[in-house]
Symmetry: C2
Subunit: 303 residues, 2 copies
């Protein structure tokens, strides 16, 4: 099985390297990190043990890779306008495409380009940073909730999950991908948003009562919006308190949006804020706090 990784940041490099280490045939589409990775390979410094892959199949263009069986999309969502250019040469009649990206709207955009039956989504719970070209720091977690975009889970879903599991990745199949996407947003919207806005790690927001209460209120808004989306089951309101409690052990963890802002990269605002706000609005649900956070984060991008 030929697997292409498109978007070789912290997430793409991590999962791609794990799969290659387990003997899978992995092709990395690389841009700025091409030279470094082709000469020095990929290093993963991980809480689960460090490893180094000296030889990596790196390519500058998708045409050099050609069609593959599986495309793993790990692009930052602000680069989604490059989908056609980066992914089309990889896609044959049997190719399946999994987006492991953040937020909402990615499956939809891929489906528009490549046909909805080809698309799966994975909600990745992964704490990792790309510390320099070809070097990933894996701080914890790594499990994937894998779901079909429009079809019922079938044998192909099981086959793909098995590829991840063979490599030691905790991969569970979910019957309602949108439920898992919204569930992750319950965490991502307050923590990515507030940490990026305030330039503070998770812990600073959780240890201060007014902002801890704010996080719970924001989570409540996201849960209300989720439960207006005709998901197969409701997201329980108690998830907010549970997530806050379990996030305390993250300490000085910097969510990806904070790192993006510190490194003066664009922020993934549309996928994490814009699309969820529009989906809520379409169902008549207001998210005043989320909307405020979105407006202020957009302002920071105007600097």
């Amino acid at each position: 099985m030929r697997i292409a990784v498109v978007g070789a940041g912290a997430l793409g490099l991590y999962y791609g390297a794990i799969l290659q280490k387990a003997g899978k045939d992995v092709y990395f589409l690389l841009r700025s990190d091409y030279e470094a990775i082709c000469s020095q390979g990929i290093t993963v410094n991980s809480v689960d043990g460090n490893f180094h892959l000296p030889k990596v199949k790196g390519f500058r263009t998708a045409s050099e890779i050609g069609t593959v069986d599986l495309v793993l999309v790990g692009l930052k969502t602000f680069a989604n306008h490059l989908y056609a250019e980066l992914i089309s040469p990889l896609v044959g009649s049997q190719t399946q495409i999994i987006t492991l990206q953040n937020g909402l709207g990615n499956e939809e955009n891929l489906a528009d380009l490549f046909g909805e039956e080809k698309i799966l989504g994975g909600v990745a719970f992964l704490c990792s940073n790309r510390v320099k070209p070809g070097v990933v720091q894996h701080l914890g977690e790594g499990r994937i909730l894998l779901g079909e975009y429009v079809r019922e889970s079938k044998s192909r879903t099981e086959l793909i999950a098995a590829v991840f599991r063979d490599a030691g990745i905790d991969c569970r199949i979910v019957s309602d991908l949108q439920y898992s996407r919204w569930e992750k947003l319950v965490w991502n919207i307050p923590f990515n948003g507030l940490c990026a806005l305030m330039l503070k790690p998770v812990e600073s927001l959780l240890l201060f009562e007014p902002t801890r209460n704010l996080i719970i209120d924001i989570m409540g808004e996201v849960i209300s919006a989720a439960n207006a989306q005709s998901l197969k089951k409701n997201v329980p309101l108690s998830l907010a308190e549970k997530m806050v409690a379990s996030s305390k052990r993250l300490g000085h963890y910097k969510p990806s949006m904070l790192i993006d802002r510190l490194e003066a990269h664009p922020l993934e605002l549309d996928a994490i804020f814009g699309v969820p706000l529009r989906r809520a609005y379409e169902k008549g649900v207001q998210m005043p706090r989320v909307q405020q956070l979105f407006a202020l984060l957009q302002l920071t991008e105007k600097d």
Copy 2:
């Protein structure tokens, strides 16, 4: 008429200097600026014309001033715990006290200490900065809406208004001081709050559509809270659009809370956010955006 100015920052110095220039008998209670003002006097650089007062009656303690007829309170509200110490020696049986401070709760606190019949409030619309000890930059406006705290407007209210008017200050008597306080909060809460949080002047927030819309939404919350307070008349919702339109000419103006943050001073959060939020909550009105802004501003003070 002996007039004491307590809190000789931008506002206290400005009104005190204007009154002295008009021949009133003004006593300034000074702390850190005592030396500079006693030796060099007060300079007002104003859009209405510059002037200098070489000789000023400055004192280090209220006891040295003794009782006066009128106390003008211009303290930053985070110093309100000093009311008793700073004001008591100035107050005799005939003394009247006017707070020109920001936000809500100041009249109440003064009334608790000195009796409610002694208290008046002035809502000051003044753009001024204290650029160094004894030097005020007056950028525009300056009118005062003067009201009794608990009594009906009476001859004494007219007498005090006449003192301001004699000095050329536009001073109108209002029958409902609380209405004017809330009306000013409709401006102060979004502009002081957002400018201080984002470290940006008024214009940056107004010229960007998402934050301009946010300002209008925040103003809507404050207007709803105001209209739950049994004011003599309702604050019209149209005030929001009107204030946004008229604020555009303020350009790079930095509201006081932004200046306080830039100068690493405490922020007037309780008077401008905390008390209004509690008053709204008591009436069953939610202000989710205001509450969020309050929480994030409190977090900035923890640095």
